[in-house]
Every structure is written in structure tokens, then in C-alpha cells.
């Protein structure tokens, strides 16, 4: 890498919850809803000079087999409201809310994000997601369903319309399109960032194209070096068609990590955490998503179910099924046979979430390697403990990244755009 200046790493903190990442059985696991928990994680992220703090969204409680899923953390605040409160107790940290473009309207969201940007002094970010299932729709006026093909056309037009509202400082915006026919002006002057930062999470071709055309950050799932490089190359290549430069879109995979004093200790701890994340009930649930029928009598510590999956199953809702179930079952049987795995061990193998495992030095080295090799521009870190799960990373790994000269010693600007090195629209 001689001759090329070191790439600077971007880091974000994801408040964990509403999936099986969080090990809520750990005695150190605190409240998932008290403000103090969010505050602790955000303050830690800011102490670590992170770019931003991130909240996910899910607008209906997940169900399995027609019943509310009860094995994982569940329950979360409304993101924008929570982030406004965090703006009071932080100073520089970006504040990112995941908000659905299907079950909202552009005028209202443009106003809410502009308000967050004003009230935080230029730290707002919006992760635009597009879930559109009728199951979630049952909580909303719109009710139903947006065709899979339409979700990104609506999302793209939604973001475009929001930007028109953000820009319409002197005269009303007027937008006519297939999804929106609106006219109006926000009750706010241009916000500090002009346009709050836009994040995209989603992986399909349509999702990547949408990101290339409209997003500042991609929250991706590709957390191995090879997959990351391929994704990075693919997405960055798409930018030119929109007149954008490669560094105008930051790729930040969501990753977990396990830290210990030595690499061996960390591996041991990682195995322990996986078993805590994938208990017997979670194993059965996961299998049911593929098999499509009730497996409550199946032994999670024995082999995979002998019967074949049911193809047209309505067992799973609020979550996409994992693909062609019969092919998948065959694939899983092959893996289990080759590696001699029980059902639970297989699920652990398949869902193994930890991306970086080791001592602080090892993890710092891996993160740096990913970024310098263009497998990512940074990471969205998901701790497995609330709210203290980021403490060890900030105290152990961040100083090592700083020593390597790949992560800021301190913030140099006040807005999230300045942390990301992105221009402020509307500023000349």
C-alpha cells in the first residue's frame, strides 16, 4: 500500500435489540428501553469519536406461527424522538434513525428530519428502508402492500421529494410524480446540513442502484473480506452513472465483535455468546422458517428434521423467508452431515454473527485491513450487550486505530457531513 495515503475509518454504534444478537440472559444486560441505556451507548460512542449512533426500526412485533415471537429482545422507542433527546446529551455524534419510506409521507418526514438536524446542530441521518409487507401494513392507514418492484421507485421518489422540501426555503416545492403529487414548504429554514445524511440498507440490484443514485452511506451485510471487496467494487462502480465520485458513498457493513485479553480467550467467549444467542427455542424457530411447519417437538440437539419443508407456508410473517425451502434444506443437510452438526450447532454455524473476534490488537488490525483493502469504508458496530457492550471497544480498539493513524483523534467539525467528509448541499 505504499504511496497511497491511509484511508480513514468511519465508525458507528448500533443500539442492539429486537433480534437474537443481544444476550439478554447475561446479568450485565440492562434495560432496552430506559433513556439511560441509550444515553450510555451514545456517550460511549462519542467518547470514542464515532461518526454516528444508529437505531433500527420494525413497525410490527414479529410473529412465529401466528404468535408473537417471545424469545428475543422486543420493544423499542420511536427513533426520531429518541434521537432528539440524545442530541441534548451529546455534542458531535451523528444521530441516525431508520424510518420506513412505505408507511410515511415525504412532507412529514422531511420536516421531522429537518427538525432533528436543527435541534442537533447538523447531526441528523435517515436510514431509508422499504419493508412493505401487508403484515406490517395492518398498523397503518395505507394498510397494505407495495409491490416488491415498487418499493425502490417509491423510496427513490420519496427521498427526492424530501430533498425538494429541504431545498424549498424561499418558495414552495412542487412535486408531481407517480407516487407523490404534493406542494408545500417546511416551517423551517435550511437546516445545518442542508440535506440530512441519507443511508440505505438493502442489497438487491434495485437497492444498490437506489443507493448509488441517492445515498450517502450504505449499511451493508457483507462482512467478509472477499464479499466486502466485491460489494464495494460493484456499488462504487455504479456511482459514475449519477455523476458521483467513489468517496461520495460510504460503505459501512453492520458487524459484531468479541474482545478478550487474548485471541484464544476471545474465540472461547465467542462460542459461548453464540450458544447464548441461539438457544433451543431459537433453533426450532429458525428451522421452522425453512421447514414451514410446527417443529416444537423437534430435538434441537439432534439431527435436522427428516421430513421435507412445506413450500407454500404461512407460518412465518414479518420476516422474509430465507429462499427456496427445499433446496435450502438439502443444502443444510449436506453441511450438517459434512461437519457432524446438530440442529442447534448448524443454526449457530449459519447465523454466526461475530465478524471480528480477538484481542483489541487483532480486531484493530482486522478492521484496518478491511478498510485499507476497500472491503468497506468503515463499520456499524453492533454490541451484543446493552448498554455497556461498546465500552471495551472504545477503550481497547479505538486507541489502537488512532495509533495506526487511521481513525480521528478528535472531531474536526460539528456536523455529521463533516465527519464523513461530505459536502453540504446548498452551500457554495
Amino acid at each position: 500500500m505504499t504511496g497511497r495515503p491511509l484511508k480513514q475509518i468511519h465508525l458507528a454504534a448500533h443500539f442492539p435489540g429486537v433480534n437474537n444478537t443481544t444476550v439478554w440472559t447475561d446479568p450485565r444486560s440492562g434495560s432496552q428501553i430506559d433513556f439511560s441505556s441509550f444515553r450510555h451507548l451514545a456517550e460511549t460512542a462519542e467518547r470514542g469519536k464515532f461518526d454516528f449512533f444508529f437505531l433500527a426500526e420494525g413497525l410490527r412485533l414479529r410473529e412465529v406461527n401466528g404468535r408473537i415471537h417471545d424469545l428475543d429482545v422486543v420493544g423499542r422507542p420511536e427513533s426520531i424522538t429518541l434521537l432528539n433527546a440524545l442530541a441534548a446529551v451529546t455534542d458531535r455524534l451523528g444521530l441516525a434513525a431508520t424510518v420506513n419510506a412505505t408507511f410515511n409521507e415525504p412532507y412529514e418526514l422531511a420536516r421531522r428530519f429537518s427538525s432533528l438536524d436543527h435541534l442537533s446542530g447538523g447531526r441528523a441521518a435517515w436510514n431509508v428502508v422499504t419493508s412493505s409487507d401487508a403484515f406490517t401494513g395492518e398498523n397503518f392507514r395505507r394498510g397494505g402492500y407495495l409491490d416488491r418492484a415498487d418499493r425502490y421507485t417509491r423510496a427513490a421518489e420519496f427521498v427526492q421529494t424530501a430533498r425538494e422540501f429541504w431545498d424549498a426555503v424561499d418558495a414552495p416545492a412542487r412535486h408531481r410524480g407517480p407516487h407523490f403529487d404534493v406542494e408545500g414548504r417546511l416551517s423551517l429554514p435550511r437546516s445545518p446540513q442542508g440535506h440530512p445524511v441519507v443511508i440505505q440498507a438493502g442489497d438487491s440490484d434495485g437497492g444498490r442502484e437506489f443507493a448509488a443514485s441517492a445515498a450517502d452511506i450504505i449499511f451493508s451485510r457483507h462482512s467478509t473480506l472477499e464479499a466486502g471487496k466485491a460489494f464495494h467494487a460493484d456499488v462504487k462502480r455504479r456511482l459514475a452513472a449519477y455523476g458521483r465520485k467513489p468517496d461520495e458513498l460510504k460503505i459501512m457493513p453492520g458487524v459484531t465483535y468479541v474482545l478478550a485479553d487474548t485471541d484464544a480467550d476471545a474465540q472461547e467467549l465467542a462460542a459461548e455468546i453464540r450458544r447464548a444467542q441461539v438457544g433451543p427455542g431459537t433453533t426450532i424457530n429458525y428451522l421452522e422458517q425453512v421447514w414451514g411447519f410446527d417443529l416444537s417437538d423437534h430435538d434441537p440437539d439432534g439431527p435436522l428434521p427428516a421430513a421435507d419443508p412445506v413450500v407454500d407456508s404461512s407460518l412465518v410473517q414479518g420476516r422474509t423467508r430465507l429462499g427456496d425451502p427445499v433446496a435450502l434444506a438439502a443444502e443444510w443437510r449436506a453441511i450438517a452431515a459434512a461437519k457432524k452438526l446438530t440442529s442447534r450447532e448448524l443454526v449457530i454455524e449459519l447465523t454466526g454473527r461475530q465478524s471480528f473476534i480477538g484481542s483489541a490488537a487483532t480486531v484493530a488490525g482486522q478492521i484496518d485491513e478491511f478498510v485499507q483493502n476497500d472491503a468497506a469504508d468503515g463499520f456499524i458496530l453492533v454490541p451484543h450487550l446493552t448498554p455497556g457492550g461498546l465500552d471495551g471497544f472504545v477503550d481497547g480498539v479505538v486507541p489502537l486505530l488512532q495509533e495506526r493513524g487511521v481513525f480521528r483523534q478528535d472531531y474536526t467539525g460539528t456536523t455529521l457531513r463533516s465527519h464523513l467528509g461530505l459536502p453540504t448541499p446548498g452551500e457554495r
Binding site: W24, T25, I33, D34, F35, G58, L59, R60, L61, R67, I68, D70, L71, D72, V73, V74, G75, R76, P77, E78, I80, T81, L82, N84, A85, A87, A88, V89, F103, N104, E105, Y107, E108, R111, R112, S114, S115, L116, H118, L119, E138, N139, F140, R141, G143, P172, F180, D181, V182, E183, G184, R185, L186, S187, L188, P189, G279, P280, G281, T282
Partner: protein, 334 residues
Amino acid sequence: MPRQLHFSAALDSPGHVSAPHYAALARTAEQGGLDFVTLDDSFAAGPHRPDALATFARIAPETTRIGLVPTVTTTHTEPFHTSISVNTLDWVSEGRAGWLVGVSGTEAEARAFGRRDAAPESDLWSEASDAVEVAARLWDSWEDDAEIRDVATGRFVDRDKLHYVDFEGTHFSVRGPSITPRPPQGRPVVVVALTAADLPERTGLAVRHADVVLLDEPDPAAARSAVGRLRLEAGEQLRVLVRVEVALPDGVAAAALTERIAGAAGVDGFHLVPADPVRDLAAFVRDVAPALRERGILRAGYPGRTLRDHLGLARPLSRYSTAARTAIAAEVSR
């Protein structure tokens, strides 16, 4: 013996979009021992102001006792989002949230959303009533002890304590349950602003759902009789605060306001609407509040932590809880 009254104040400051401005005002009101502050909102293009609920969430960590009651409108918004937003304000303020229910009646607001035409206010208020009903059901949809963290069975929640709300109305339906656990106050305080001769739909919403009415009626006799009617219909738990426009440029004005408040009869308190919030709130706290306290009309300090505590309102049981169901069954069988 004079009765202690409840006080609240509007922080509306057209043209201000900065958090420190609102935080300073709320802290002043808190020094004066007021129960809560309100902040107006709408989807109109003017005046310049940020989203009211966002503003109050932003200043919640910078205050400790004062209740925070933003206007949130129901016409173009999703009731589900409103429910979880007000709920979240209660979490971030640790039990100090309220909701001043509003509607959006103008063409311009309708065009900004592009989803429906402007409708008559009477329709909008009956829809608002549905929105409040849905919000309250969603707040109740997690029983207080739904989170069990039962390590032995691996269950984080007891799904029998999470409830579908299954609301079906003319404008929308909502399945539930909420995604946000029941807020600290059980239900944030619902506030409705009324005139003595308001639309039946708006008054009906207040009677069915409000914890507090802000009554805009300058004539004392008319105000008294309106309070009587509201109490009769809504019950003794309703708090009616009469709106009073406040301009306190000097000590004379402060003394006059003190006398006016001390002479009030038949109301639960006042909602102060300052002409100049920065000047008038400071003057109220400095000049009027101590005089009221001396006369036993304004309490010294806060009696508890939550807005319900300040207002003397009990924390409601979830309507879906076993205890509440038993109570209802007993009521019905009598």
C-alpha cells in the same frame, strides 16, 4: 382556605428554531413550579418553528420536573406513529409527557401531503378522537409486566401480556400491539384545548379522552358554567385550566395578574399564554409565583416526578390487564 391551583404555560415563540431557546423557557417554568408547558404545532409553512414533539424530546434531558405537552396533529399523520412518538417522549422525559391533540384543517396542509382533500373540522375532530383512542389502546397493549426475562424458559416477554388492539374506524384500522413498551405514566396525559361553545366533536373528544382541558373562555361566569358541564360529563378526574393571556412588562401588571388568579373560582388552574415568553415567564416566576405561594394557591415544589403526579392523576391500569378486566367485570355485574 384557598385551593391549590394547577399552572401551565405556552412556550410558543414563532421564529425560533433553536433548542437552547426552548430549554431556557422550560427551565424558567420549572423554577416557577408549573405543572407543564405546551408548544403549538401545525403543518403550515409559517411561522418558523421546529416539530413540537421533537423540540420537547430535545429539551427533556435538560429539565427534570416540568411536564412537556407538545401539540401533535392527527389529520395527516399515522396514529401508530403518533402513539409511539408520544410514548417515547414519556420514556425520554421519565414520565413527563403529554399530548395536546390538534387537527389540520387547511387546503395547504392537505396539499403538502397529497393524500386527501381538506375536510370540515367536525370530521377532523371525530377522526382525532379515533386517533386518541388508538393511541391509548396501543399504550395499554403492553401490560406493565410484559417483559419477564425468564432465563429458565428463554422467554424475554410473556406474550400473553401483549395485546392486539384491533381498532377499526372509518378512517383507519390498527392491529397492534405497539412496538414500544408501556410508557412510565401508563398513559401520557391527554390535553385538549376548547372554547365554551366548541364543536360537539371536539368537546366529545375531551369528555371521552382528556385528562386536561385548556379552556379558552375570557368571561368568568361562562368559564365556570363550562367547567361545571365538563365535570358532569367527564367526571372529577378532569382538570380544567383556563387560558389567560399574560403580558407582564412591570410590577403593576404582575400584581393585577396575581389578584385575577387569586379571585378565580370554580376552575382547576390556568394556562398562561405569554405575549413575550422570555420576558413574561421570567416575570411570572419572579413576581407572581411567590405571591401565589404565599397565599397557598401555588404549591411549593413538585409533589412527585411525573406529570400525572403534578396533576394529582392516578396512573391508569392497562385496560388489558387482569386487574383491570376483573374491575370491569365487577362493575358490569353489579
